[in-house]
């Protein structure tokens, strides 16, 4: 799986990718084509390259080289199409040759900057000086390009005659002839140049892709520093200290709301997450999913410290999956999804995130389904997180409870608008088999219909 597909599965990860400030469309393409790393060695290597980009960004002594590199990347054009045409023996036109010359010039400048930033190992760049020399026969040293007189001995006399005729408003027929002849010579020069460029095709592709990748690396480094992300270390479980959801934290900051990072530590098997409504269980699941995707796409993660167990994929059943176009109800699409996840878990080690399974069907069968899901998933190697409001499940698995609503947490009167300040989002190990019963209390705080709430209370007491 590539980032291109992963962002479609997870809006939180999409937000992360959208927050990356790339300088070129080639860089953006390189980013979207980045793989989800499963192999721990490859993952460490990618983290190492990202770290060297962070070091280069932070090294104030190298400001100039850093700015030079950025300046090169800003001018980078995506020449994938042109290089493919060249490779298949197509004659490049003047504009395409200009683009190739420009790429060779940029590659030379970028290589120098990359070397002085200490990034040569992370970004090996082939030397393409011969390409530039070929397209700069008059040794101007600049990117400008046309079919220079020196490419063909017939050009200089032809152009001299043309100039004299144009300036003295000479015979239009002769001017036409000369223009056609010039055109033919220029075309044959383009063909000859394309032939001579053919052996450099691979190196040109490599420098372009390396510069595109450099753009992605610098953007990763910039985001890591802007968001204070941390490099995880590999382990046999996944643990985050002060994990935060970038999108929600930014949103809360904009609205002037408090944001509370949480600590969590999970391993293979099922971890059941319980907690009152509004306690952030769903957000917790989404955040862990996004963090795992970030990490395994070679990025740092939104936490103060992190240990990561690599998985083969992140799968989730979160939110209303109702797909009316397929004629499926929310229950139907959910249970099909969970069944698919289970099938995959038999073959792969995944991070599995299931939010309140079977909540839209009757509680008797719903509870039975949740018990079955836990029993089947618990012994598997995947890391599974399941949130639920069902109590007394009697299942054997680890339980975490979001501490949730704390009435005296803030010293202001409680209102529906500031209820967020009275919730402790942190997690506690839970040994009991029950779930919090705070639905009616929260409904009352939210100012819901009093008759509704009191009737519900009396129903419980009956």
């Amino acid at each position: 799986m590539k980032i291109r597909e992963l962002v479609k599965q997870d809006p939180g990860f999409q937000y992360v990718i959208d927050s990356m400030e790339l300088m070129s469309s080639a860089g953006r393409r390189a980013m979207l084509d980045t793989d989800f790393f499963v192999d721990p060695g490859a993952l460490e290597a990618e983290w190492n390259r990202s770290d060297s980009a962070i070091d280069a960004t932070l090294d104030s002594g190298n400001r100039r080289a850093y700015n030079d590199l950025r300046h090169c990347l800003m001018q980078l054009h995506d020449l994938q199409g042109t290089l493919a045409a060249l490779a298949s023996h197509t004659t490049l036109n003047e504009v395409e040759l200009f683009e190739i010359k420009n790429l060779a010039l940029l590659a030379g400048k970028a290589s120098t900057a990359i070397a002085s930033l200490g990034l040569a190992e992370a970004l090996p760049m082939p030397v393409v000086a011969d390409v530039f020399a070929l397209l700069d026969p008059d040794r101007t040293g600049i990117a400008n390009f046309y079919i220079y007189d020196s490419y063909d001995p017939r050009l200089a006399p032809l152009r001299r005659e043309l100039r004299s005729l144009q300036e003295h408003e000479g015979d239009p027929l002769r001017i036409g002839e000369l223009l056609a002849e010039q055109n033919d010579i220029q075309n044959s020069v383009c063909t000859a140049l394309s032939d001579r460029l053919l052996p450099f095709c691979h190196d040109l592709s490599t420098v372009m892709e390396q510069m595109a990748y450099a753009d992605f690396l610098l953007a990763k480094a910039e985001l890591s520093l802007r968001w204070h992300l941390v490099r995880p270390r590999l382990g046999d479980h996944t643990a985050f200290t002060a994990l935060f959801n970038p999108r929600l934290r930014d949103n809360n900051e904009r609205l002037g709301l408090r944001y509370q990072p949480v600590d969590i530590d999970v391993a293979s098997g099922v971890t059941l997450v319980t907690g009152a409504n509004m306690a952030g269980k769903t957000v917790l699941l989404k955040t862990i999913g996004t963090a795992q995707l970030m990490a395994q796409c070679g990025m740092r993660v939104p936490a103060e410290a992190a240990v990561l167990m690599p998985v083969e994929g992140v799968v989730a059943s979160i939110g209303d999956e109702q797909n009316e176009m397929n004629g499926l109800s929310s229950y139907a699409s959910e249970i099909i999804k969970i069944s698919d996840i289970l099938q995959r878990m038999r073959r792969e080690r995944l991070l599995v995130l299931i939010d309140e399974p079977a909540r839209t069907t009757n509680p008797v069968e719903g509870k039975a389904l949740v018990q079955a899901i836990i029993k089947l998933m618990e012994p598997m190697s995947s890391v599974t997180l399941i949130t639920t409001h069902y109590g007394q499940l009697g299942s054997r698995c680890r339980r975490l409870r979001v501490r949730g609503f704390v009435e005296d947490m803030a010293d202001v009167p409680l209102t529906p608008q500031n209820i967020n300040r009275f919730i402790d989002y942190s997690l506690a190990e839970d040994t009991g088999d029950d779930v919090p019963h705070e639905a009616l209390r929260i409904a009352a705080i939210l100012g819901c219909d009093e008759e509704l709430i009191s009737l519900a209370h009396s129903n419980i007491n009956q």
Partner: protein
Amino acid sequence: MPFVRDILNYRSLSIVGLDKNTGKTVCLNYILRRLNSLGIPVGVTSIGVDGEQVDSVFATAKPEITLYEGMRFITSEQHYLKRQLLSVLEHVDSRRTALGPLVTARVLLRGKALLSGAATTGVLRDQIQLLDSMGSRLAIVDGALSRLSLASPTVTEAMVLATGAAVSASVKQLVARTLFQYRLICLDEVDRDLRPRLSTIESGLWGIDDDGQPHDLGIASVFLIGRSDTDLLRYGTTLFAAGAVSDRLLRTLAAKAKGITLIARDFTKLFISPEAYNDFLRRDGRLMVLQRTRLIAVTLNPTSPQGFVLDSDATCHALADALQTPVYDVMKINPPQ
């Protein structure tokens, strides 16, 4: 030679045709030839696709643009490859158009070229900036069919208006249509101290109080104005329309009160008919603009694409009388080659 000296007071110039086949390209060729003889480094580009060898609407022969040594031009890759001149490529834009990326080149040996350019005024502004940064003293933008937006003073500082027999076969109608557009181009500007208060407003209809302070009248789009029963005149009879001005807005305002002053951003935001404007004027209304485009000249192409030719002298005189400004026959100042 007429009006070319005036152009040199500006950094950017648009050539806008009141209709297709009003002689824009002939006019541009005249200006380029004159600027070349004065030795002025200019840059030329276009909005949209134009400069086709054969006019795509009427299939009449269309003069190409002649560019001289040292001039810069921006066109699409496909048109660049068809040029009949020698030039050196200096820049290729990363954005692509239907005809490939926009390229910038400097002419080494004069000749003819086809111009195509940015599809939006935003990109056009970038291109003008690029020409400027490369050392062009003046950027000239060749307009395309019904693309008035490039003449906005936010894009180009000055303009030449091209009119001609293509607009109407009747001299009376031609004069009336040209005069109406001319009056809109020449609308008075607001006071200097009012301009900065309004220029940052991006949308909506605003009432301006006696102290010159703008207040949002809470109308998101002036196209919805008919349905609103808000008191539009609660801050006084001076209003600012940040977006487009339509006939409906003019008529609604004329119906509310006499003596209303309506301020538009510039003349390219006026999408109004002569009838609605005249009704507005009869109610003592006044249209003004935040920023006025400098109109350098009006040119006439007496030949219509269908082939008939107006009496050049008589038409020029009729236009000059109505507009109270000189009008030039492009065919006379630039005889067809």
